[in-house]
Amino acid sequence: MARKALLISPELCIGCRGCQTACKGWNQLPAEKTKNTGSFENPADLTPIVFNKIRYVEVPSEKDPVRWLFVSQRCMHCDDAGCMKICPAPGALYKTKEGAVAFNKEKCIGCKLCVAGCPFNVPRYDAKDKISKCNLCEDRIAAGLEPACSKTCPTGAIKYGERDSLIGGSKKAGFAKVYGDTDLGGLGSIYAFKDSPKLYGMEENPQIPESIVFWHKVLKPLAYWGVGGAVAASLLHYVVIGPHKDDEEVKKDG
């Protein structure tokens, strides 16, 4: 199956947050008790019961009092997913055939390592310490529906579809570079940005933390080959040199 993706276009987003409520509705997530902190943005961050949110970004503008950007944020469904890489529990995180990075709370052991592996600070943990995040509406997309957030979005600021054609489409619409096109093996949540990703509060070249890459490439194989090597070396030693003999014994034997 061709890989699916969400294309997010802040230039089309009107910050209505239908996507936030739709996500809650579909996934039956309770509400956070919030306070107004002097901004439209609320809740302040993703939580175990907030899978997506709009960031309201204000940047200076030449022609207007301010440039007001609305950036929809959720799991990026990375191809090379740091969360999956670091996760110790098989089946806790998995890829669906559409390319979603989904999770299984039953299998999650609550080690909370995945947030360290995630370049986008996405995973959150519920009261039982189980992972909780956007799963690209795994159940909906498996049934051939689009995710709740994109379905609700009135302006097409969130579009769901085949990844390649979404990228092709937005390139045709004049977006030279699609954010997430190639990063981390290609993201499943891609962005049509008019300006540098920084402006929208996104990192330029997202990467899995180096220590995790080192661990994955070196330490992990070493644990495998290292202990095997140790056993092999012992055997070799035993055969070639043999057990340790003390001077006297050697003499006696001699």
Binding site: I14, C16, N36, G38, F40, E58, P65, F70, T155
Partner: protein
């Protein structure tokens, strides 16, 4: 809306002024974005940089309450630069009409029009008239050069609205003004179309009606009325508010915008004689000339066989207003405050939060003997007796709560802003003891009727003789829909063609077949055709769901049904030239085809193609049969000069009741001279006091809604997901003002007006900027009106910003001025 939601995609320029679609009509942005994709310009004019402004191509700020100045400047710009659509203006508007030479305008009378009476605060409109020829038709000058013609008078009137003057009134930087004028003025060409989206940002002012009139003039000048992608588009604030207005929500209209009779119109004949517009021009359709048929059919529908020719179709049963009586919102609550009411049904509303000057409204409720609250939830109105500052022991009002079903728990039609009536189905049964509103009305009526039957009463007939057969308990909404559409009470025969139009007992085809003689019934003439006959079967047109779009303009004519007669764009006869050719062939709403093929008879003949045209008559170029395009106007022309309104035939800028200026920069009249004053030098209630240009209340304020909540928030505050997004009352203010007041974002502040105060969380932002008005700095702040003390129960949400708003209304509609008033903001 003259047009409809999908049609927004056809525009070249979309002017959003007086509304905030991204926040209050988010779905409309789907079509706006589609238009933008094709190169359209989105222009937003608003005191605050809104979420709509965030997506705009051009944003211009203006101080609340100065829209007429802004738009008056645009009219001047359009006229000065010859940007108007001349052919359209000359032929389709009253620009060429010669005005009574005694007419004088604000330029001559320092802010007033001729005929003003200071004591009654009313105009004698005698001079606001046209010169008539011997045939009784208006005299015209087709060259529009005569100094007395509408065009020249208008030009003179708006010559005072120079960019510099306008800028110093509105606080809009001059270059921004000109940018907007230029962008919008570009739609005066036949192949360019502009649309205007407005809502309460325009209506809720003492000059509300004139705000809209100003834009209507611009749209006529630019030839944008009747066009796909054009029109005057009121974005209704509730999903079915269009429907409820169509059905007589307001005190002065019966269903279908038929005037409520006043006591001086003693019988039906007088009513029809006096209220039916007349014309001597055979080329004017003057559709309202049919008013008699509509009121008669209406009476037949509600009184059935009890409405006979002999008793004047039971006209006497209709309640009458005293001559000149105004029973609009502000007056009702004023009367309630003065103890003139025993009881009150608060049905689907929350006046304790939604009413302007809500503090007065809350006190007014204490004067009632009883109140019935019909709502989904308890709210500030139902619980007013335990509200802030009130002691339940002191209040004698007995309050009843009747829980009603939500929209998904019942079946029926709802009509959106585009006049589209869509049938909806019940998804779930009403929960708990709640019932659909119609069932509640039904039961209530049947019980009242029983009491009248038993006890008699002063005048029981209007109740006892009412036709009322909707079921013993649960109402069958289809019966109502059919009654609204209307029936042929007798067989209707087209005598000329000798053809049966409708069989006795059939549903009416549409309002064209309604009769004056009592042989048809119709609950609401504009909805006639919504539930009709097809192949001898009754068909609910509102339940249609076909998605064909042959014109590509998004008319979707087979999707549900829209009034009138499924015409998707009204005044569409103005979208073609005199020969019936579309001004812009690329977006032809209708076009005249001399050889149109009739699919039924397979014969060809002349006819209109496209949308349902405004009448079948041939194009205007046909000297005999051709008709003028504006069929709802007696003279058939778009009104640049509009003598119908209370406060002037041309819109003139006046300041809001409360404003930061000592004087109007344009004239000596500070406020609209025709508004009703609840409080002035002569006195008035302390509750109604206002303080303009007063040091204690130095900042302009406005109220608004946000996408996350709805109206007073009764529905949305109870929804935890919505409350999560916007949990608390807030006030937006500029960085500059915040600095002056030492306020930081997130601080709790108090916002005070001459009438009340609320606390709010400060949102310090660049989205508000101080205005340069008359060479001084004016700050503006804004608050939503979604919050109330009753829920959340811990009071964490705050209270209604309507505690601040004044008791004053528009000169024509009495809609309260909640969009511009004065406050102070202090750190709490």
């Amino acid at each position: 809306m003259t047009n409809h939601w999908v049609d927004l995609k056809n525009a070249d320029v979309i002017l959003v002024m007086g509304s905030n679609p991204a926040e209050n009509h988010p779905i409309s942005m789907k079509w706006i974005m589609k238009a933008r994709e094709k190169g359209a310009k989105l222009v937003v004019v608003d005191p605050r940089f809104t979420r709509t402004a965030a997506r705009a191509d051009l944003y211009a700020p203006l101080r609340s309450g100065t829209d007429i100045a802004f738009l008056g400047g645009m009219i001047k710009y359009i006229l000065d630069n010859n940007l108007y659509f001349k052919e359209y203006v000359v032929n389709y508007t009253n620009a060429t009409y010669l005005v009574n030479p005694d007419f004088k305008g604000p330029a001559e009378l320092n802010g007033l029009f001729s005929g003003y009476d200071e004591t009654t605060r009313k105009y004698d409109k005698k001079t606001w008239s046209f010169q008539m020829d011997e045939k009784g038709l208006p005299k015209k000058d087709m060259t529009m050069k005569d100094p007395n013609c509408v065009f020249q008078i208008m030009k003179k009137h708006y010559s005072r609205y120079t960019p510099d003057k306008v800028s110093s009134i509105t606080g809009t930087p001059k270059e921004k003004l000109l940018e907007v004028y230029k962008a919008y003025g570009s739609t005066g060409k036949p192949n360019r179309v502009g649309t205007e989206l407005y809502a309460m940002g325009w209506t809720q002012h003492t000059v509300g009606t004139q705000n809209i009139r100003t834009m209507a003039i611009i749209q006529l000048l630019l030839g944008n009325i009747g066009m796909a992608g054009g029109g005057m588009n009121a974005l209704r604030g509730e999903s079915n508010v269009q429907g409820s207005t169509d059905f007589g929500l307001l005190f002065h209209i019966l269903p279908g915008y038929i005037p409520v009779p006043s006591a001086t119109l003693v019988d039906l004949k007088t009513y029809i004689d006096k209220l039916t517009p007349k014309t001597k021009d055979p080329r004017s359709v003057n559709w309202w000339g049919n008013r008699g048929k509509y009121i008669t059919s209406y009476l037949k529908s509600i009184y059935g066989s009890n409405a006979t020719k002999e008793n004047g179709f039971a006209y006497d049963y209709l309640p009458k207003l005293d001559e000149g009586m105004n029973a609009s919102w502000l007056n009702l609550f004023d009367q309630m405050y003065k103890g003139k009411f025993d009881g009150f049904f608060a049905w689907g509303q929350n006046p304790a939060c939604s009413g302007a000057n809500a503090g007065k409204v809350r006190t007014a409720l204490t004067k009632l003997k009883w109140m019935v609250n019909v709502n989904l939830f308890d709210n500030e109105t139902a619980s007013f007796w335990k509200g802030p500052g009130l002691n339940p022991k002191d209040i004698q009002t007995e309050v009843f709560m009747l829980p009603c079903a939500s929209s998904v728990e019942k079946e029926g039609s709802i009509t959106n802003s585009g006049r589209l009536a869509q049938w909806r189905y019940k998804a779930i049964e009403p929960i708990g003891q709640s019932k659909p509103d119609s069932d509640i009305v039904n039961e209530l009526f049947l019980r009242v009727k029983k009491m009248y039957q038993k006890q008699g009463g002063a005048f029981p007939d209007p109740i006892l003789k009412l036709t009322w057969n909707y079921g013993a308990k649960a109402v069958n909404t289809h019966l109502i829909a059919k009654e609204v559409n209307g029936y042929y009470i007798e067989e209707l025969v087209d005598k000329k063609a000798n053809k049966v139009v409708g069989k006795k007992g059939d549903l009416c085809t549409n309002f064209v077949t309604l009769q004056l003689d009592g042989t048809t019934s119709c609950g609401n003439w504009i909805y006639s055709g919504s539930y009709t006959m097809k192949d001898d079967k009754q068909v609910n047109m509102m339940a249609r769901r076909k998605k064909d779009d042959p014109t590509g303009l998004g008319l979707f004519s087979d999707w549900a049904w829209c009034w009138p007669v499924n015409r998707r764009i009204i005044y569409n006869r103005a979208s073609v030239n005199m020969e019936g050719k579309p001004w812009d062939p690329k977006r032809a709403v209708i076009k005249w085809n001399p050889n149109k093929l009739d699919p039924k008879t397979k014969k060809t003949g002349p006819g209109w193609e496209g949308d349902v045209p405004d009448g079948p008559a041939p194009p205007m170029a046909d000297e005999k049969a051709g008709k003028y395009p504006f069929i709802m106007r007696a003279d058939g022309m778009g009104a640049l000069f509009g003598p119908g309104l209370a406060d002037g035939p041309f819109p003139e800028h006046y300041e809001a009741l409360e404003c930061p200026l000592q004087a109007n920069l344009l004239s000596k009249q500070r406020v609209n001279p025709a508004i009703k004053m609840f409080f002035d030098k002569k006195g008035g209630l302390k509750e109604d006091q206002f303080l303009s240009c007063d040091m204690r209340f130095p900042y302009v304020a406005t109220t608004y809604r946000v996408s996350e909540h709805w109206q007073t928030g009764v529905l949305t505050r109870h929804l935890p997901w919505q409350a999560e997004l916007q949990p608390q009352q807030f006030v937006e203010l500029s960085e500059e003002l915040a600095k002056e007041k030492n306020i930081k974002s997130g601080d709790k502040v108090t916002v005070k007006s001459a009438r009340g105060e609320v606390w709010a969380i400060a949102m310090v932002t660049n989205r508000f900027k101080p205005f340069k008005v008359a060479n001084s700095t004016v700050h503006q702040v804004g608050l939503p009106w979604h919050f109330g003390w009753q829920f959340p129960e811990d009071g964490s949400g705050g209270d209604s910003s309507n505690l601040l708003t004044p008791t004053v209304g528009d000169a024509n509609t009495m809609i309260p001025e909640t969009k511009a008033f004065m406050v102070n903001v202090e750190k709490a």
